[in-house]
């Protein structure tokens, strides 16, 4: 289990990824371990224009996890192609998945058009938990079935890249959104993004962000389990994975592949340890 797999047409030497936003653009952790040992690499979400991100505080520890309010700081897709892709092109032999975000379908389509044909990229992950300013009623694109459908559909029409729709857990029924993603042409879903949450800064100003870490693992498992039973679509499982046992739980719940997230901050070598652990388990089975 967890060894060589085929996921959305990508040949992987194992099923362990690092989640978007955790390891930047690949270079940051390259001193510590060989990124090519991973099944694949997912970049920090890039947007059409550069984003400075939020003011401080941006992160806080919680019981069994953390809240981040980074605000999608990223150099924008043009600078990403210019400054960040060369490292990935030169050093990565594993599939590179570029995570993209935007407030509207048009914005996302423009980002995809710029990435089309860039040979080092293997797939696109749509971060549909981006704030959506056009519709005041709903906060994230993936919280609105119709909007999610339209958005994924629009992107599907302009690119041949395999598409992974990364969904927000803050919905009544995740299976509906997963089904809609499939209908619109997504090749897989990534479950889950962080839970909307807040904390207070030192001077009691409210800070809104996303809750992640071991605290969300049981909820992630439930959503993956439900989607895998109801919708025929490959799942990338994400949410509080902190050990080989957690990884096995995610596979048991129905994930085809998994991505390690914020637990890497406590144990930077965690993805490598999980890969080693899984391959041991695989041999024992």
């Amino acid at each position: 289990m967890g060894l060589t797999t085929n996921f959305i047409g990508l040949k992987l030497k194992n099923s362990v990824f690092v989640a978007s936003g955790i390891a930047g653009f690949g270079e940051e952790y390259s001193d510590l371990f060989d990124i090519n040992k991973l099944g694949g690499f997912i970049t920090k979400t890039v947007t059409l224009l550069p984003r400075k991100g939020n003011s401080l505080p941006r992160i806080v520890e919680t019981t069994s996890g953390m809240i981040n309010s980074i605000g999608l700081e990223n150099p924008g897709v043009d600078a990403f192609i210019e400054d960040k892709l060369p490292f990935l092109r030169k050093n990565l032999k594993i599939p590179v998945i570029v995570s993209i975000g935007g407030e509207t379908a048009e914005e996302l389509v423009s980002v995809v058009r710029k990435l089309n044909g860039v040979e080092v990229i293997s797939a696109i992950e749509l971060n549909l938990s981006c704030p959506n300013i056009k519709s005041a009623r709903k906060y994230f694109i993936s919280q609105d079935k119709e909007l999610a459908y339209k958005t994924i559909r629009a992107i599907r029409k302009v690119t041949k890249f395999p598409l992974i729709a990364k969904l927000s857990p803050a919905v009544t029924d995740i299976t509906e959104i997963a089904q809609v993603s499939k209908n619109a042409g997504a090749d897989a879903v990534a479950l889950i993004n962080s839970f909307p949450a807040m904390f207070f800064s030192k001077d009691r100003a409210p800070v809104f962000g996303g809750l992640s870490g071991p605290v969300i693992k049981p909820m992630a498992l439930k959503m993956i389990y439900e989607v895998s039973r109801k919708v025929k679509i490959p799942i990338m499982g994400v949410g509080g994975i902190t050990s080989v046992k957690d990884a096995m739980d995610f596979f048991a719940a129905g994930s085809s592949v998994i991505a390690v997230g914020s637990c890497m901050f406590k144990n930077p070598k965690l993805p490598i340890e999980i890969i080693k652990g899984l391959s041991k388990n695989g041999k024992q089975d």
Partner: protein, 263 residues
């Protein structure tokens, strides 16, 4: 490119230097060889985020961490005993750069300003600099003064300020420093400073207005420690009237005093 490690080390010695303050020693040949003053380590303190600590001295292959026990993580750390394992990640960040003027022979040229546990990083820097300078050190009380051994050995001028007047001058180190500047004929040419943010801000303002160049070491909450998560952003000046966010963990923790845009 600096190389960093994540590894288990055994604690060689762990002693109380003053009530509430501890010194922890471990050995790691390559880490000790690569570590530069101002760089830090992320220690697994049982908490979800690791905890950052400056490298406070290096002797041969032995690395020292000098820290104050203040909360959950440092309490967990303080309970570790000699012989226990500790998971360390580092060395991280950019350390202090040598001053562009080089090391001047005249001791009045170089000033260090330390606030609280900020003394830890300046202590390692003092170890590496051959000439002595003047150390301004602000602490709450005389029971919070740590890490002076290196400065004494190297014959630094040490000027202490305590908030309760239990040692040295009464009040904040920023005031003592300012008073010193206004009373001295020969202004120092270079500053290194570490401590709480409000102190660093004030010290930077004082230095800039007196034409003194220098570097400060910032503290923020750290998650990844390698510039990946963007959690530890700091506003820095660019040529236009805009700003860019840099990271305390990777671009810093040491910055030129003219670079930072204080809130």
């Amino acid at each position: 490119m600096a190389k960093f490690y994540q590894t288990d080390v055994r604690i060689l010695e762990h002693k109380t230097v003053l009530p509430g303050y501890k010194s922890l020693f471990f050995s790691h040949p390559t880490l000790a060889k690569n570590a530069r003053p101002g760089q830090f380590l992320l220690l697994d303190c049982g908490t979800f985020f690791r905890r950052p600590f400056t490298i406070s001295s290096v002797k041969g292959i032995i690395i020292e961490i000098l820290y104050k026990v203040i909360g959950k993580g440092t309490r967990y750390l303080s309970e570790k005993k000699k012989g226990d394992w500790l998971n360390v990640f580092g060395p991280l960040g950019n350390g202090f750069n040598p001053s562009p003027q080089g090391e001047r022979t005249s001791p009045e040229n170089l000033v260090f300003v330390a606030g609280g546990t900020g003394i830890a990083s300046l202590r390692f820097l003092a170890q590496k600099i051959s000439v002595p300078g003047i150390l301004f050190y602000g602490a709450k009380t005389k029971n919070d003064i740590i890490g002076l051994d290196v400065f004494k050995q190297k014959k630094w001028h040490i000027k202490i300020s305590t908030e309760d007047c239990s040692s040295g001058s009464k009040g904040l180190v920023t005031d003592t420093f300012k008073k010193y500047l206004s009373g001295s004929r020969h202004l120092p040419s270079y500053l290194y400073s570490a401590g709480p943010k409000p102190m660093l801000k004030r010290i930077s303002e004082i230095c800039i207005s007196n034409g003194i160049a220098g570097q400060v070491s910032l503290e923020e909450i750290i998650a990844c420690g390698v510039g990946a998560c963007r959690g530890c952003a700091v506003k820095t000046a660019v040529k236009t009237n805009k700003f860019i966010y840099k990271t305390v963990c990777k671009d810093g923790p040491v910055f030129d005093i003219r670079e930072i845009l204080w809130d």
